[in-house]
Structure formats: structure tokens, C-alpha cells
Point group: C2
Chain length 506, copies 2
């Protein structure tokens, strides 16, 4: 079995947009309704900063104290929003070019539990889990943005949590990092820590390799004070923002899917306006994450056909505005990486990705309606995404690929295409050979132990986690970070894995 | 947990066509190339009947004895082909309306092995397995056409195999049946048996509830004698035909995916021409089934991103001709109903269905690159298709569903949508509640035994197979069939399960 797919289905950032659940007329109607909601219903809970800037820009407060956004302001902000920017990796080879219609895959989540897939037991997630996940995701070829998937529940102090979360992500990964930050006053401290990692003042600002995930809106249509202040601080400090809102259809958003999209678009644009009022043209991934409630219980449910539609619909809406966006998918309700997890993830990730958002978040590793994370699921889902990216690459139609002469020759003579020059030329570039998915005959598979993919994944995870962990952080810079901040990741855990130091970087 | 989904995502025959991997220009180029291949490369191996009819209609034989099809003839046949017909169920409630763009799900396959999912052991499939599968599929709400998924390998005589295959399918199921037939002389015998089941001469012709799967073309571009003769006999006898061709990209078709589509279209149209020359306007499902070879081994591989593209592309091509068509999907390479099976099936079935063929075949139960079948996989895959059908139903955009007033009211007052009139009105019609997929919290799931979906499916299978088996065949008609033909299904096995007889039927 090959250890890694030999096939790259085009450069990372595959083009999407071939699946379009909403018609052009549908998009116009949802757009118009969202602007109505922004103008007539507006938001409650604006921070002082945002309210003052908004009133200065033409917004009004109604009798209930809700901040109403005039259409012209919203349209101006959309026009002036950042597009086509680079999100920096910790090493330059991991830079992400955010461009209209190009789809990238990211982790995501804030799970509080880890699954032991062999014993089927869940336990609280820790800082050490986060470090292991970072190291594992660093080896997953289809993932470009490492958003912290689990919360380090063994850290209770918010400042320590924020600092150590960023540290563990940066220490274990060389990719672009995303994480939430609890309070605005932690933003400058984190940037100081990131500067120390690079070994120079202003090192972070030169290549901002960490984005903050800011849920500035709580549904329905309410600004969240702490997150809004974090977003304001990040915008002022030059830290890119993943602006999130997570309306739950049937619970904190309408049960009608179109209504949930209207509210998601309104909330997404409201959050974008607030950030752009602080700093026009700041790099923002305008991510509405419309979720689905199981209406029997009111609980979040992530793996359904409704979820697949909402993700794709929201991606279409943000592309209508040409705004960089991300949607969540791959959020199975299963507690195990079983067949349910496989089909729920493939349905939602396939349709989300084909609809063309800039990012698909939560795309690997998550289980249990985002409450849990699994290392085995991460490597399995990465392989699934490889197949999905092959499908996204599409069918190349050229005079050569139409193969009229090849067909005539093969049909009239040898009667097959094995060993044909075209076959040999295309076998390494047009076909994916999976590394975990099994293609053996039943007899060979039985002889090799009759394993399921989770058992094979367990072996792969162990291989990765026992290997050295490259990092761009030199031992000297690491020591400086540890001297300045309360880093809780055992230095032996981190240092003992260092076989080598990656050159280059920030 | 609910025993069955309460939600029907629209009537069976959901509209497809929202995923379109080929552009209009791509379609035109593939169409033109396929007509070139039909005119310049043509087919070898035409039967005497087909050759004589074809030469009479303007075809030519070239120096290699290949039958060449002029463009005008192919276009005339396409124009005159059957569209918008009914495929009859064994009971009228199972009738299938074949209409442009409406997608139905079917079984399919000719597996020779059954999986025992608990012990992970494969064994040869039998007539009794086929009967059990028929009874199980009869209870799967998302499946409308029961094409025999396994071969009764315990029958060696071809005549007995053909007769007993149809018998076991008809005795266990009330849906439309599909099966292959080995030799043309078996066709009238089978129709005689089907007449006896209905209790009257001409009963089958009145409501033809069995289609023959005829692989009249062996790739590349060669008519198969026995199957062609079966198709000729079926057309003359009024039995609908699923016309199949199965080119294998990289082995019996070009490695270039566009080239495989060109050959698949040419083979599909060649087969359609041959049948229509025998009987113009005969009901045919023109099914090109482009498959993928793993080019490291030359073996068929069913679960890949390339397979997803080929299925969707072929569906688009046949819709271009407005021909009823079916494509295969759900053909995982995994040997177990594990996560690999889940994601490979969901990727291929989602994209095939969204592209809008009349039928998606092989859509439940198949494993091991079509070599194996699993009862547990059947019920799991049926649930997956329910979610996919929900996604296919799309997002309804109306003044009411845009929910502007609902959003304003909820945002200004209660702050949520639980118990909202709109939520209550939509919760039973717009949302799917799965019956096998788990949505419990990790704690509840652990308390309930920490099962995976395959374990839950095993219980469901046992429930269905221990229940009475309704049939439209009366005991008297069944006795008449058994008196006239060598039926090998133990009458105790079949009769002992009959708790009641379904009224109505043919």
C-alpha cells in the first residue's frame, strides 16, 4: 500500500461552483430579504465602539435600542471589503492564496472530548491532545488551515488557555493557525508571543500566520460583547479574522431553510460591517455557519441533508458578494468513525466544497455533533477529501482527451487500453491511488487481517505521532517564549519530538 | 428511536440536475466525438438479425467487418426512442414514472459473495440469499427498482438459474424487478412463468413488471451475441430493457475520462439503435455504466472521485438526448460497511443523483468492488439515500420561507424559534429524522451500548427477515408456477413466511 497519494488533484485551492442549489433568482431574493432584515430588524447589543462608529456612518438606533443598517452602507462595506489576499503559513510553503471560487480545506471546532476509538470511550480533551492533533494535521496533505479542533480543558485560566492554545498549535504545526481568543486584552499578549517565536519585533505583523475566530454575533441578530471587542482588537493589530455566526435552524434561526439563510446572510454582513467600520479592508473570512437543530430535541445535528443544503446555500450567497467565506461541513452526529460518519461527512463536505466557498471548516476529525474529536477520523477524512478534490477537478475535455483516434486504434487492434501510451501517460496524473482506503480482493483482504479503515488509520496515527515534529521555532526562540509566558506544554513532550528544525519560515 | 423516517423528501423520483460537471460546450464536443466513433470505428460482432436490420437502415460494413452507423440514423433513432413511460411494479403502488430529470434509486449488481458482517467472512451467495435480499429491499422506502444484487451460485444450470432468479425476486418483492437473462430462449419461458404468477395469459404483457438487464455491448465497441439475442427477444416480447455497457477507464476504455465518456456514449447509442431497429420506441433505459480501473492492477475500482465524475458525466450526456438513463454509484471498494464504504458511497451516489439520471443503480448493499453484498449495508445505504434525497429536494424560496417577519418577531421578543408556529408547521415536513443514524449525546450513546451503525443495522435486518413476507402471488398461482417450472426455493422457506397476501397487484 502506498503511504501517500501520488496524485495532487490540481494545486491546493481547487475550483468549486459546479453544484448550485440556489438559482440566480433565489439568490437575489435572499439578498434582498437579508438587507431588509439589516435595515428593519437590525442588531441588539452593539459594543460602544461599534455603535459609535455605526451611528457616524449612517446607522440608526430604533425604539428597542436595535442598531439598524441602511442598505447603502452595507453595500458600500461589501464593495470595500478585502478580497484576494494571502493567509500566511508558519512556513511560506503553507501560504494560502484566498481567491474567488478557490476552495481550501480547514479543521475547526471547539470539541471538549477525545475519542479512544479502540475502546469507544470519550474523555476530556487536553492541551497535549491539541499538540498531537497539530502534529497530525501538519501531515495531512489536503488540509491547509489548522483551526484548533479541541479545547484544552485541563487549563482553567482564560489567559493561560488562550496563550497555550496558540502555543500548542504553533509548536505542532507549520500551517496557518486559527483559534478563538477569549478577551481583547489577550490579543496584544498573543502577538507578543508570536513575535518571540519569530525572533523579532514585528515578526508576526510581517507575515500574520494566525487568524482569530471571532463569533461576534450570537443568533438571532445580537452582537456578543467579548467577541466583538476581540475582533476590534484584532483588526487594529493586523490579525486576520474568521468572522463567524452560527444560527441554528429551528432553534436560533427560522425552521424554513431559506429563512435561516436570510438570517445567516444578515448576521454575516452585520459582522463584516462592524469589523470594516473599525478598519476598512481588513482581511476577513466572512463565515456564516448555518446549523441545523434536530427539532425533536432542539439539539444541534451536523450530518443531515438539510445541513448539506445550508452550507452550500451560504457559500453561494457569499460568492454572490465575492466575499471570502467559509462554511462548516463534515460534522457527523456519529460517535464513532463508522459508516454513518463516512456518509454524513461525504454528503456534507462534497456539496459544501462543490458549491465553492473559500474554506470548508470542520472538514476532518470531528465526531458527535462537534462535541468530540478523533485522531483516526482525521486521517480517514483527509483521504475522503482527496477523493472529493479529485471530483472537483472535473473532466478535462480537449481534442486529445476525447481520444477518438485512441478508441479507433484500440478497438480495431489489441482490444484494450492497458499499456496504451495514453494510459501510461495519464496513470500518475489523472488517477488517485488511496493510501488508507482498501482496494484488495476479498481474499487478499482476508489474508491481510480483514481490517476496517479505522484499524488501518490507528496504525497511521501511531506512525505520525512517533515521528519527529519539525518546527520553524528555533530552540532559542522557544526558550524566550517560555521565559515570558506561562507555557504549560511540558518542554520534554515538545522538545523530545524534535528530530530537526525546519529552515525558513517567518 | 423512530423505526422509519417520517419525512418523505418529495415523491419518489426527486428532481436532479443541480450538479453539472460538464459544460454545454463539453457536452457538444463529447456528443460530436461519439457520433464520429459510431460512424468511423463502429462495432464488431453484430448478430445476424441486427446486422441485416442495420444494413437495411443505411449502416455499412467496413473492410474489418465493423458495422458503421451514419449520424443521421443515430439521430433518427434518438428522436424516436421511448421517453416518459411507466415501469410497472408488481403492485400498482410501486409503479415508476420514468420522466426527464426525475431520479429514482435501484439496486443492481451480480455479486457472487455475501458478507457476514459480524465475523467479517465472505461466502458464496445463494438463491436463499437472493430471496432474503428481495424481502429486505421491499421494506427500503428509497428503493424503487429491485435489480437482483447477487447471483444464486448454488444453481448451475442456466435455465434453472434464470427461472429461479426471477422467481425469488418476484416472490420476495412487490417492486419492479430487473435481472439478466442468459439465453434468448429463456425469455418466453420466463414470461410464461410471470403470466402464471398473475393468474392469466397475457398478465405480464398488461403490466410488464420485469425488465431485462442486457449487456449487449462488450467494451470496446463489440456486440455480445447472447445478450444481443436476449435483447431482441425481449423487445419482441414487450419486456422493457435496461441496456447496459460497462467500459472500464484505462482497461477497456481510454484512461482519459472524456475519452471514456465518448466511448460510453457511442456504445450506449449503438445498443439503443440495435434495439430500436428490432422494435422502434421500445421502452429502454439507455444505461452506459462507465467504470474505473485501478491502473496499478487493471482491476475494477468503484469508490473513487473519478467514478463519481464519470457517473455524473454520463448522466448529463443522456439527459442531453432526453433519453431515460441509469448510472451506477455506491460501488465501494471496501470489504466492510465501514467508514470507507460510507464516504465512497456518499460521494458517488450524491454526485450521480444530483446530476439527474433516471436511475441510480447499485445504490444499496454492494461492497468489495461489486463482488460482495451485505444485508446490513443495504439498510445503512437506504438511510444515506434518504439524506441525499433531502438534499436533492433543495431549498424552497418563497415569500413565506424567506421569513422576514418571523425573524423580526423572534429577534425582538422571545429570542429563539423553538415552539414558533413556523417551526411547528415545518418540523414534520422539512426535516428528516434518521432511524439508524445516531444523534444521541456521547453519554446517552455510551449508556445505550456504544454501538456503531452496522450493529444497529444488524438488528434491523433481523427484524425485517423474521416478519411475514407479503406477496401479490396467490397460493394457487404459486402452485401453478411450481407445477410448471423447476423452482428450487424451498416452498417451506417461502410459504412459512407468508402471514398474509397483499390484495391488488397485477
Amino acid at each position: 500500500m502506498r503511504q501517500a497519494p501520488s496524485f495532487a488533484p490540481g494545486p491546493l485551492g481547487t475550483k468549486g461552483g459546479m453544484y448550485r442549489p440556489l438559482s440566480e433568482a433565489d439568490i437575489q431574493r435572499i439578498h434582498s430579504a437579508a438587507l431588509d432584515v439589516l435595515e428593519q430588524t437590525g442588531f441588539k447589543g452593539a459594543t460602544d465602539t461599534v455603535r459609535d462608529l455605526a451611528l457616524g456612518a449612517g446607522c440608526k438606533l430604533d425604539g428597542d435600542g436595535r442598531l439598524l443598517f441602511p442598505r447603502a452602507l452595507v453595500e458600500d462595506i461589501i464593495d470595500g471589503a478585502a478580497r484576494d489576499f494571502v493567509l500566511h503559513g508558519q512556513t511560506p510553503s503553507n501560504d494560502i492564496e484566498v481567491r474567488d471560487g478557490h476552495v481550501h480545506f480547514a479543521t475547526g471546532g471547539a470539541a471538549v472530548k477525545m475519542l479512544d476509538s479502540a475502546s469507544r470511550a470519550y474523555r476530556p480533551s487536553t492541551l497535549e491532545d491539541l499538540f498531537d492533533i497539530a502534529r497530525l494535521v501538519d501531515k495531512l496533505d489536503n488540509i491547509q488551515w489548522f483551526a484548533r479542533p479541541v479545547v484544552a480543558t485541563n487549563l482553567e485560566d482564560w489567559r493561560e488557555l488562550d496563550l497555550n492554545t496558540v502555543y500548542a498549535c504553533a509548536r505542532g504545526s507549520t500551517k496557518h493557525i486559527g483559534t478563538s481568543i477569549t478577551l481583547d486584552r489577550h490579543v496584544p499578549e498573543i502577538i507578543k508571543m508570536l513575535d518571540l517565536m519569530t525572533g523579532r519585533d514585528g515578526g508576526f505583523a510581517q507575515r500574520p500566520f494566525v487568524s482569530v475566530h471571532a463569533t461576534t454575533v450570537v443568533s438571532p441578530l445580537t452582537f456578543a460583547e467579548d467577541s466583538s471587542n476581540v475582533a476590534t482588537a484584532a483588526a487594529r493589530a493586523g490579525m486576520p479574522i474568521l468572522s463567524q455566526t452560527g444560527p441554528l435552524a429551528g432553534a436560533t434561526a427560522p425552521a424554513a431553510l431559506a429563512g435561516t439563510l436570510v438570517q445567516t446572510v444578515a448576521e454575516s454582513l452585520g459582522a463584516l460591517v462592524a469589523i470594516n467600520l473599525v478598519k476598512k479592508g481588513h482581511p476577513v473570512i466572512t463565515s456564516g455557519w448555518p446549523f441545523v437543530a434536530d427539532l425533536r430535541t432542539g439539539s444541534f445535528s451536523g450530518g443531515s441533508g438539510e445541513q448539506a443544503l445550508l452550507g452550500a446555500g451560504q457559500a453561494q450567497m457569499m460568492q454572490f458578494y465575492r466575499l471570502p467565506t467559509g462554511v462548516p461541513a463534515g460534522m457527523t452526529d456519529s460517535k464513532l468513525p463508522d459508516n454513518q460518519a463516512g456518509f454524513e461527512k461525504a454528503l456534507t463536505v462534497t456539496l459544501a466544497a462543490m458549491s465553492g466557498p473559500s474554506f470548508v471548516y470542520e472538514s476532518v476529525g470531528m465526531l458527535a455533533s462537534l462535541l468530540g474529536c478523533s485522531l483516526e477520523a482525521m486521517v480517514i477524512d483527509n483521504e475522503m477529501i482527496h477523493s472529493i478534490r479529485r471530483s472537483m477537478k472535473g473532466i478535462e475535455v480537449t481534442d486529445a482527451s476525447l481520444s477518438i483516434d485512441v478508441i479507433d486504434e484500440a478497438s480495431r487492434h489489441v482490444g484494450h487500453y492497458l499499456g496504451n501510451a495514453q494510459t501510461l501517460a495519464l496513470m500518475e496524473t489523472e488517477y488517485v491511488y488511496p493510501s488508507l482506503a482498501d482496494r484488495n480482493s476479498p481474499d487478499n483482504w482476508t489474508e491481510q487481517g480483514a481490517q476496517d479503515i479505522t484499524e488501518r488509520a490507528r496504525k497511521r496515527v501511531a506512525e505520525v505521532l512517533s515521528a519527529p515534529c519539525p518546527t520553524h521555532i528555533t530552540p532559542e526562540n522557544d526558550a524566550a517564549v517560555r521565559a515570558a509566558f506561562p507555557i504549560r506544554l511540558d518542554p520534554k513532550t515538545a522538545q523530545g519530538l524534535d528530530g530537526r528544525w525546519v529552515k525558513g519560515g517567518n
